[in-house]
């Protein structure tokens, strides 16, 4: 066996063990409680009982409705925007396009906080309608009560829209323009050309983005929690978490969610696997943007403004709330102040939470870089059936709800279990770092794999020919060439981990260990000006993520969509 082959096997073994220990095992533990009774006997009664329970069934039905509707809405807006910006030089494009990712830069529950301010009974929307004479002050519209499910769907869709947009935008960038031109020369135009030529070419990305959106929507926790929509599976699991060890139905719900998520994920991959060969679909030159004039330009601009405006609405509301002295029964706040920022900074929970988050996230990104690069190297440089299995396993966190993962980590760290010494109640650092790392692993793997596949192996072979060992070759040749990709993937993983909600709410139980998202959630519930202070911290997080995103965009450009590929 050559040194290189031994090294490959060694690396594969290390990666496989890490994935088994911190991904497969917690997942197995998370669902084990659904099938084992307190006496250790196997049983299917709990899952069956969960399926017979009308409340759990309603929760599951609502979760599916939220997932499907929010993914559909995200698809319509995301694909529409991607096509518009890919084909036309829409007026205002330069300023509006960078705002599309805004919903992604805010934990959805913080966005929901802003939406409550807008859609409350005495909120900005009702007040505006009243000022316009469209509504009587005596009979305002109770948007959040009458349309609670719609509010949850809308907010979740807003959050998912950029994922679909970037995924499709990236695919459109690589569509061979000549194919579309050839179709046009044969009389195939407009919607027909899109349906016959463009859509089949971008279908894998559409499926990829949609399935991520579906899974995300299915397991979304923050938005339903803040909108008081409790009859949904994610909230039922969250509420039942404190029953760990006693409530087998929570385990059963976890098993059901995992099954649905993995089915969606597997289905999407199967569809993508049947996509047209990539070699046909390679852009040879950039598309010339069409110029719009008159009414069409105005219409396109209005569509863009509406989409971006709707997407930015929660962010705008959070900014206004953070800066408001009082915002009650008026369209805009009646006064502005920086007091809430001062209160946030001076709150004893906040600075430690920022420090904690930075510590957890830096460590998790370091772990992601090591593990993600190793996996990408195995997949790209040493392809085999095992490498493909590892690749699929590394993508699994996209399909697994954060809740389920957190549940699994709690289960393997209870008293008497092998990881009891890492019990998150005492110190959540190890499992928060692992949870963040596992959740964002797919981003880093895809980013590293994209970089590695662009680096010619001839350079590495030349180095090897000159006597450099595999490690030295990687360090001196490969790493500098893939560094921009790794860096971009790492920054993205960093930013999204910083605002990870599910793991943070569940695994951090002591104030001194809270990360930012849990601090925002705690502040949100404080009496007095808690919500404004929470909004101030949310605004800080939003700015931080906005600049992180702009940085990644400046490195990756349109290839940013590759990060969301399955």
């Amino acid at each position: 066996m050559t040194t290189r082959r031994a090294g490959t096997w060694g690396l594969t073994a290390v990666v496989a063990i890490a994935l088994l220990l911190f991904l497969a095992w917690p997942l197995a533990e998370a669902v084990r409680g659904a099938f084992v009774d307190p006496n250790g006997h196997w049983t299917g009664a709990y899952v069956l009982a969960a399926f017979r329970d009308p409340v759990y069934l309603s929760g599951l039905r609502n979760a599916l409705i939220i997932a499907v509707l929010s993914a559909l809405l995200a698809d319509v807006v995301g694909i529409g925007l991607a096509l518009l910006l890919d084909r036309y030089d829409v007026p205002g494009r330069r300023w509006l396009a960078p705002l599309i990712p805004l919903p992604l830069l805010l934990p959805p529950f913080v966005g929901a906080m802003g939406i409550r301010q807008l859609l409350g009974q005495s909120g900005a929307v009702n007040t505006l309608l009243e000022h316009l004479g469209l509504l009587s002050g005596a009979h305002p519209i109770d948007w959040l009560r009458q349309g609670r499910l719609a509010a949850v769907v809308g907010l979740t869709a807003l959050h998912l829209c950029p994922i679909v947009f970037f995924s499709v935008q990236s695919a459109l960038a690589s569509v061979n323009v000549e194919l579309e031109e050839a179709a046009a020369s044969l009389g195939c135009h407009g919607v027909r050309r899109f349906w016959k030529i463009t859509l089949p070419l971008i279908l894998p990305s559409v499926f990829g983005g949609t399935s991520i959106a579906l899974i995300w929507g299915l397991t979304e926790l923050g938005v339903p929690l803040v909108c008081d929509f409790t009859q949904v599976t994610s909230v039922q699991i969250f509420s039942g978490l404190k029953d760990i060890g006693h409530n087998p139905f929570v385990y059963a719900l976890v098993a059901v969610v995992l099954l649905v998520s993995v089915t969606l994920y597997g289905g999407a991959r199967a569809v993508i696997g049947r996509a047209p060969p990539a070699v046909v679909n390679k852009a040879s030159r950039r598309r010339q943007l069409g110029r719009l004039r008159g009414a069409r330009a105005a219409l396109a601009c209005a569509a863009l403004v509406t989409a971006v405006g709707a997407a930015a609405l929660p962010n705008l509301a959070v900014v206004l709330l953070a800066l408001s002295r009082d915002w009650y029964g008026t369209v805009l706040p009646t006064g502005f102040t920086l007091d809430h920022f001062r209160a946030a900074v001076s709150h004893e929970m906040v600075i430690p939470a920022i420090g904690n988050s930075l510590r957890y996230v830096c460590l998790s990104v370091a772990a992601d870089l090591l593990l993600g690069t190793a996996i990408a190297w195995i997949v790209v440089r040493a392809p085999s059936a095992l490498a493909r299995a590892i690749d699929a396993a590394a993508m699994l966190p996209l399909a697994v709800p954060g809740l389920v993962m957190a549940f699994g980590y709690l289960a393997i760290s209870r008293e008497g279990r092998p990881f009891a010494f890492w019990n998150p109640v005492r110190d959540p650092t190890p499992f928060l770092v692992i949870a963040y790392a596992m959740r964002r692993l797919p981003l880093v793997v895809r980013s590293a794999a994209a970089g590695l596949s662009q680096v010619s192996t001839t350079l590495e072979e030349a180095a090897a020919g000159l006597g450099a060992g595999p490690l030295r070759t990687f360090r001196r040749i490969t790493l500098p060439l893939v560094a921009p990709h790794l860096f971009a993937g790492a920054v993205f993983a960093f930013a999204l981990s910083l605002l990870e909600v599910s793991d943070s709410l569940i695994l951090a139980q002591r104030q001194s260990t809270y990360p930012i998202t849990k601090a925002i959630y705690e502040l949100f519930q404080l009496l007095g000006d808690g919500r404004q202070v929470a909004a101030a911290l949310g605004m800080w997080a939003m700015l931080f993520l906005l600049f992180s995103f702009l940085f990644v965009r400046s490195v990756l450009g349109r290839r940013i969509g590759n990060l969301f590929r399955l």
């Binding site: 709990y46 002050g137 509420s239 006693h246 139905f249 009082d326 002591r510």
Partner: protein, 513 residues
């Protein structure tokens, strides 16, 4: 490149801003390197944690000891209770199987923390072994959560006698804190928990919304059943919030005081269904209610006294004294002692006793009621709560204008009527109102729209499956069963039943019958 440099600079500026702003302020007290740590499990909010943590640290520093409190906050009272059950079960299972070498079973798991005499001898042995053990959950004290919850923890064997009552006759003697007032215990006769402050309950309301709806200020639980408040009453789930459970216990007790346990329960169900029919939501967190009322998201909501008073004060401080109000449910509220108790196997017992002594000293008691900044009062937050030391009321100024001792004497609490049934009562509320909120609201709305026609009202008030006999018999038994499927069966049965009941009432109301 220049653009990228600007972005990086902006990123670093955002990241560094909070730290830079903080560096100009007084440094937070050191949280590490303390010589001793006290671990406290609590549902108290951050303001209470901050003030008591700071004051106790300073108090101990005066005695030459460096102390820190490690606050554990897994959620509200209900979550804390479930965490304690989980931790003690895991800990005792290890002790039973590894130290004692005995076999573990589901009967032991569900029975060793039950106070009643067990049927199986092995469960009885496990119960005795637990009560004689120093099995620990790694936490010293349970601080806050209400006396009902503390009594439950004590009966389970998770709270133990700290010897504090016996060793402090000056606090618990004739001139000190009475053991009970109006039937409401202020400390456990066996010393396993001790009240530290007193709470009453009432209704917070938004005057603007009430005016718009043409509804007067609600001052009783029954006022929340006014059909004009449809979708406007914010409620907390008594299965998740300790204070919400106490509010519903008050409501049930108040009805039982009028007509005895059996008839009183029927009257309570009548009232709870109507209030539930007006529910805007059933929150997990009781603190969300006054916030939503203040933000005009709900017209009224039930809450603990200091939540209501605090939100009223915040609105007044912001120049809007007429926006939010709070009304005590006079004569209909229990006066609940909010206790502290020593947990079994507490790793820092001596420090825990020092904390108990501090909280019950005049120095600790003043933290509850004095405004922040007042000499001897809290430093940063006004807690607005009623201390338990009667001497502070004699001196005047405590209790936010209300004397909870007077209120306690007015409300004659009969614990035997509701305390043993509380798990069953909250379970019924869950299935009757929380899990069926949409159907209940729809039915109640239809009844109100049709002017409460008699047949529809009779259908709506159907007591089948939740009459007093079923509540105190089969439902209570199912909740105590070691098999979780028994409880699940009842939950499923009740939810289906209530959906059918509300559907029938709605249809009859729409037909005007």
């Amino acid at each position: 490149m220049r653009q990228r440099a600007i972005i990086i600079a902006a990123l670093l500026a955002v990241l560094g801003a909070p730290f830079a702003a903080r560096s100009g302020r007084r440094a937070a007290p050191p949280t590490s390197g303390a010589a001793e740590t006290l671990v406290v499990l609590t549902p108290h909010n951050q303001a209470v944690r901050y003030e008591f943590g700071r004051a106790f640290r300073e108090h101990m520093a005066r005695q030459g000891r460096r102390v820190e409190i490690d606050w554990r906050t897994p959620g509200g009272t209900a979550e804390i209770s479930r965490v304690l059950v989980g931790e003690y079960t895991a800990s005792f299972q290890l002790y039973w199987t590894q130290t004692l070498g005995r076999r573990w079973s589901s009967e032991i798991a569900s029975g060793f923390m039950r106070a009643e005499r067990p049927r199986a001898a092995e469960v009885g042995e496990a119960r005795q072994a637990f009560l004689q053990s120093e099995v620990s959950c790694g936490v010293d004290l349970l601080f806050g959560g209400g006396s009902t919850e503390h009594a439950r923890q004590a009966d389970a064997g998770r709270l133990v006698d700290a010897g504090f009552v016996a060793s402090h006759p000056e606090i618990f003697g004739p001139a000190g804190i009475p053991q009970s007032v109006g039937g409401q215990p202020f400390w456990d006769a066996r010393g396993r928990w001790i009240g530290t402050c007193l709470s009453t309950f009432g209704i917070c309301f938004n005057r603007d919304l009430l005016a718009r709806l043409g509804v007067g200020v609600p001052t009783s639980w029954e006022a929340l059943a006014d059909p004009r408040l449809a979708g406007q009453v914010a409620l907390a789930d008594p299965n998740k919030s300790g204070s919400a459970a106490t509010i519903f216990e008050s409501l049930v007790q108040a009805q039982m005081q009028v007509s005895g346990p059996e008839e009183g329960w029927a009257r309570a169900v009548w009232l709870i269904r109507r209030i539930g029919g007006n529910a805007r939501y059933w929150s997990d967190a009781a603190a969300a209610i006054p916030l939503d009322v203040a933000g005009a998201d709900a017209a009224a909501g039930t809450c603990i006294d200091y939540y209501g008073r605090s939100q009223q004060a915040t609105a007044a401080a912001g120049g809007h004294p007429d926006r939010v109000g709070y009304a005590l449910a006079r004569g209909e509220t229990v006066v609940n002692a909010d206790p502290v108790g020593l947990l079994r196997g507490a790793p820092h017992r001596e420090l825990a006793l020092a904390f108990m002594a501090f909280v019950l000293s005049p120095e600790g008691q003043r933290l509850w009621s004095l405004p922040h900044g007042a000499p001897g009062g809290p430093e940063r937050y006004t807690l607005g709560r009623s201390p338990i030391l009667p001497s502070l009321y004699a001196a005047g100024g405590a209790g936010g204008g209300e004397d909870p001792y007077r209120e306690a004497r007015r409300f004659g609490y009969r614990p035997e009527w509701t305390a043993p049934l509380m798990p069953a009562i909250t379970f019924v509320i869950r299935t009757m109102c929380v899990d069926t909120q949409a159907e209940l609201s729809e039915a109640y709305g239809a009844l109100a729209a049709a002017g409460f026609p008699p047949q529809a009202v009779a259908a709506f008030d159907d007591l089948t499956l939740v009459d007093y006999q079923t509540l105190s018999g089969p439902i209570r038994q199912a909740l105590r069963s070691p098999d979780p499927l028994d409880q699940a069966d009842w939950a499923r049965r009740l939810v289906r039943h209530f959906r059918a009941v509300y559907g029938r009432a709605r249809d009859l109301a729409r037909q005007g019958r």
